[in-house]
């Protein structure tokens, strides 16, 4: 059959069709292509991490450790944590959406250091490959927290290589952050002042500050663990007068702010989606922007609230508890401002908005339960139990992953030029929200009744709640598989989206979808405030 599939002249040149072939992708310095490379790699890591999560939930269906051995279970939850935290959540929004959008949002042709951007992806790939090698070769069983002296002396698994993998991965994160900071300072288009900057950029700026200042510390800490394993002696070794609690200080100095590396970009996405689907400017722009910076700074002052029962002094516990309450304030400010943004808006509940509203709900619960853990009276009882597990999953999955999916839906037409199926999008959003709550709400009760985390087998009285949790997880898994399917299918079958399918404000919508290689035909000049929806269509259009 003769085909007439000849490229019609209507198809404009864009970053996807400008050239083809593996080499043009692997050697690209285009931030948009690098974002796509990241998107593919972190999606792979997400499903690897999700596979381990499935195993965990299946094992916990029954109180006896019957599905796998204790050692296997310990490796499974460790690798779930490592893969999800270091290889999915931390790069998730910044390296994909941030990478793709920041230059466009500020009217630049690319990030300040395109080759370093590519380098950071390669570093990520090397570290991820090393981690997968570790997983295939027996795994690691220290928990993602690598607490000494278990990790340095007592574990018989591949702690050394896992530590090195995360060490390497850190540089990928640092280089991304460095690139963003310089880009935001030096590459803004004429007229794009700081007060006109989209809040997406503000939040990513705050994220980058944390990446640049925090990540080196986890790198040196894990390097010390790795050296201690090789050398059989080290500064965390109590036998020579070392203090294992010092490891925890150094670990959490990064790993607590790392939570904000995950959540600040989610807040970045929120501000864009909520304004667009309410057709309104953001309520209290300056407060939302400064709250991001406030979180980045205060986030570094609270790390020892992970260590209230670890043997730190009571006075240190008081100081860190107090500071932890401080950091809750800017997060609360953000939630209130997003809510207020909807007031007197013209709210359309399209898929990205559903994720955004889901985010507000789940993040609020996650944040509120954080107040319990910052509380010195309650934390000694609930720390290291499922209460903590539930709390940080509300932040990292209910918050960060919801926002990541919301952002993907929002900018999918920009990235690919195609629209996904709206009905399936809504179905998936509801499944994820329902499945998530069913999975993690019972874990709060489990935690307060005393089920410790990282338990392979548990006492029988905890079974009912665990069964509920596993049931929720299966709904959640289904919810996560759906977008994979309809996104892929939209690449071929989705309707052409057009340059600005949501009639959204922001420079990224003023160029073609997908954008041309250098983003704009000519450097834009910005004369308007962020989220100036006054003169845009009063409704979100429907693409079909």
């Amino acid at each position: 059959m003769a085909t007439t599939a000849v490229a019609t002249p209507v198809v404009r040149e864009n970053y996807l069709n400008t050239n083809y072939g593996i080499k043009s992708w692997l050697l690209t310095t285009d931030h948009k292509r690098i974002a796509i490379l990241y998107l593919i790699s972190i999606t792979l890591m997400f499903f690897i991490g999700g596979f381990f999560a499935t195993l965990i939930r299946l094992e916990l269906l029954t109180p006896q450790g019957d599905l796998m051995t204790a050692d296997t279970y310990n490796k499974v939850f460790t690798m779930h944590g490592i893969v999800m935290v270091f290889f999915f959540l931390i790069p998730s929004i910044p390296a994909t959406l941030g990478n793709f959008l920041i230059p466009m949002m500020i009217g630049a042709k690319d990030l300040a250091f395109p080759r370093i951007n590519l380098l950071s992806w390669y570093i990520y790939i090397v570290s991820a490959a090393l981690m997968i090698y570790v997983i295939v070769n027996g795994g690691v069983d220290t928990g993602w927290t690598f607490y000494t002296p278990f990790s340095t002396t007592y574990s018989n698994t591949n702690v050394f290589l896992a530590g090195i993998a995360i060490f390497i991965n850190g540089f990928s994160s640092i280089l991304t952050g460095l690139n963003f900071i310089v880009t935001l300072h030096r590459m803004r288009a004429p007229g794009m002042t700081w007060s006109r900057l989209p809040l997406f950029c503000w939040s990513h700026y705050a994220t980058s500050v944390i990446q640049v200042l925090g990540t080196p510390v986890i790198a040196i800490t894990l390097a010390l663990v790795a050296i201690e394993r090789l050398w059989h002696i080290g500064i965390f070794d109590p036998k020579v007068g070392g203090d294992p609690v010092l490891f925890q200080h150094m670990f959490w100095f990064y790993s607590h702010p790392a939570v904000y590396i995950m959540i600040l970009p989610s807040m970045a996405v929120m501000s864009e989606i909520i304004t667009c689907f309410s057709r309104k400017r953001i309520f209290g722009y300056a407060f939302v922007a400064l709250a991001s910076i406030g979180i980045a700074v205060l986030g570094f002052l609270v790390w020892a609230h992970h260590m209230f029962v670890a043997g730190i002094s009571a006075y240190a516990a008081l100081v860190f508890s107090l500071l932890s309450y401080f950091v809750a304030v800017p997060s609360a400010i953000k939630v209130f401002n997003w809510t207020a943004t909807m007031y007197k808006g013209n709210v359309s509940l399209r898929t990205p908005m559903l994720y955004a509203l889901g985010f507000i709900g789940l993040f609020t619960i996650g944040g509120m339960t954080g107040l319990f853990l910052a509380n010195l009276g309650i934390d000694p009882h609930v720390t290291d139990t499922y209460f903590v597990v539930a709390h940080f999953h509300f932040i990292m999955v209910g918050g960060a992953v919801m926002a990541y999916l919301g952002g993907l839906h929002f900018w999918w037409p920009k990235m690919t030029g195609r629209m996904y199926n709206e009905l399936w999008g809504k179905v998936a959003a509801f499944l994820i929200f329902a499945g998530f709550n069913l999975t993690f709400l019972p874990q709060f009760i489990l935690g307060y009744t005393g089920m410790p985390r990282r338990y392979h087998a548990y006492v029988p009285e905890f079974q009912v709640l665990n069964v509920l949790s596993t049931a929720g997880a299966s709904i959640l898994a289904l919810g996560y598989l759906l977008p994979l399917i309809y996104f892929l299918s939209s690449l071929r079958n989705g309707p052409i989206a057009g340059d600005n399918p949501w009639a959204a404000q922001g420079l990224e919508w003023k160029t073609a979808s997908p954008p041309p290689t250098f983003n704009f035909e000519e450097t834009p000049v910005v004369t308007w405030e962020a989220y100036d929806y006054e003169d845009l269509p009063k409704e979100v259009p429907v693409v079909s």
Binding site: A70, Y154, P244, S321, G361, G377, I445
Partner: protein, 339 residues
């Protein structure tokens, strides 16, 4: 409730009620605000849902509102902090004269030693209505001693003693969990705390084979290791006299002062060169690798007992401690510090 669906842990210590009250307060306050946020979000999404005739009103923001929702949460947070801090400070300071139990954690079991010399594994018997202080150390990795019914948890570290105390209020059997991930059988490092009536407890104690109190075995170790040849009560000793040492400040030769607590005693046995008592020479050899954690505990217990009132005399501990009455030895390991 269903027997296999506990929604609330049992309350069995003097702390449980305080923690639960605070917990309920937090649930009410945060629940109220969570419902408020949910309600407002849902209300706005419905009230301002997309309609053909609706035009969004552009609103810049409101400093008054921002101030309100900054200051009100902040004020509430401070109430939470202060209340929590009060509960916590009570929870970390063991009352004087608490009966003392020593805990050694190892992969994957709990070893517990009563001052009377009774040893148990994975089960801790304690009398109801009495302050119990645990001095804990790990032989290998970090563990965490967790009794949900007492609302108490404390990490057990290698190389350093940590302390936890409780006052059981209800007899019964309660879960004891290891809450800090410690390797293969972490989830098997569980046991129970048995809270008994004091007289039952007494009966239980005397029903157990007893090789002498912990302090007595410490004294034996002290002699066997030859410690007594230098640490003597007369002025001939090449090492400091240990009688009455515990709980007192010690002047060091570098001009600083340390408190002679459990950790100091332990360090001085394992790393004698690091803190030299003023006026003495750094000649003591290290006992690192020679004595194990249990022997160390017995030595510490013995040295503590040297700060107790003279043997044979009635213990200075209040009469409400019937535990030691009638016993010939009164080296109560309770931390009656000599002030």
């Amino acid at each position: 409730m269903f027997s296999n669906l506990p929604l609330w842990p049992s309350q069995a210590s003097s702390l449980s009620g305080n923690v639960d009250l605070l917990y309920i307060f937090l649930i009410l306050v945060t629940g109220l605000f969570t419902i408020l946020v949910f309600a407002v979000v849902i209300f706005f999404a419905w009230k301002y849902r997309q309609a053909p005739d609706r035009h969004a009103t552009q609103i810049e923001g409101s400093n008054a509102l921002e101030a309100t929702w900054t200051l009100i949460p902040f004020g509430i947070f401070m109430i939470m902090f202060v209340w929590g801090a009060a509960v916590y400070m009570r929870g970390v300071q063991p009352p004087p004269n608490a009966m003392e139990v020593y805990v050694v954690g190892k992969q994957w079991m709990w070893k517990l030693e009563h001052p009377e010399g009774v040893r148990e594994i994975n089960t801790l018997h304690v009398p109801v209505g009495k302050d119990v202080r645990l001095t804990m150390i790990s032989q290998d990795v970090i563990h965490s001693f967790y009794v949900p019914a007492f609302r108490m948890k404390q990490d057990v570290l290698p190389g350093r003693y940590t302390t936890m105390w409780f006052h059981a209020t209800k007899t019964g059997h309660y879960h004891l969990f290891c809450a800090e991930y410690c390797g293969t059988l972490h989830s098997g490092m569980i046991g129970e705390v048995v809270v008994m009536e004091p007289n039952e407890y007494q009966a239980w104690l005397s029903g157990n084979v007893n090789t002498g109190t912990l302090a007595m075995s410490g004294e034996k170790t002290f002699a066997e290791l030859g410690c007594s040849s230098c640490h003597r009560s007369d002025t001939q000793g090449r090492g400091p006299d240990l009688a009455g040492l515990y709980g007192k400040p010690v002047a060091l030769d570098n001009g600083t002062t340390v408190l002679a607590d459990d950790n100091y005693l332990r360090d001085s046995i394992l790393n004698p060169g690091s803190k030299i008592v003023s006026g003495f020479k750094p000649i003591m050899p290290t006992y690192n690798g020679i004595v194990n954690e249990e022997q160390l505990l017995s030595l510490v217990s013995y040295i503590k007992s040297l700060s107790q009132p003279q043997q044979g005399q009635p213990a200075a501990a209040p009469a409400s401690v019937p535990l030691h009455t009638g016993r010939t030895q009164a080296p109560s390991a309770g931390n009656t510090k000599v002030k």
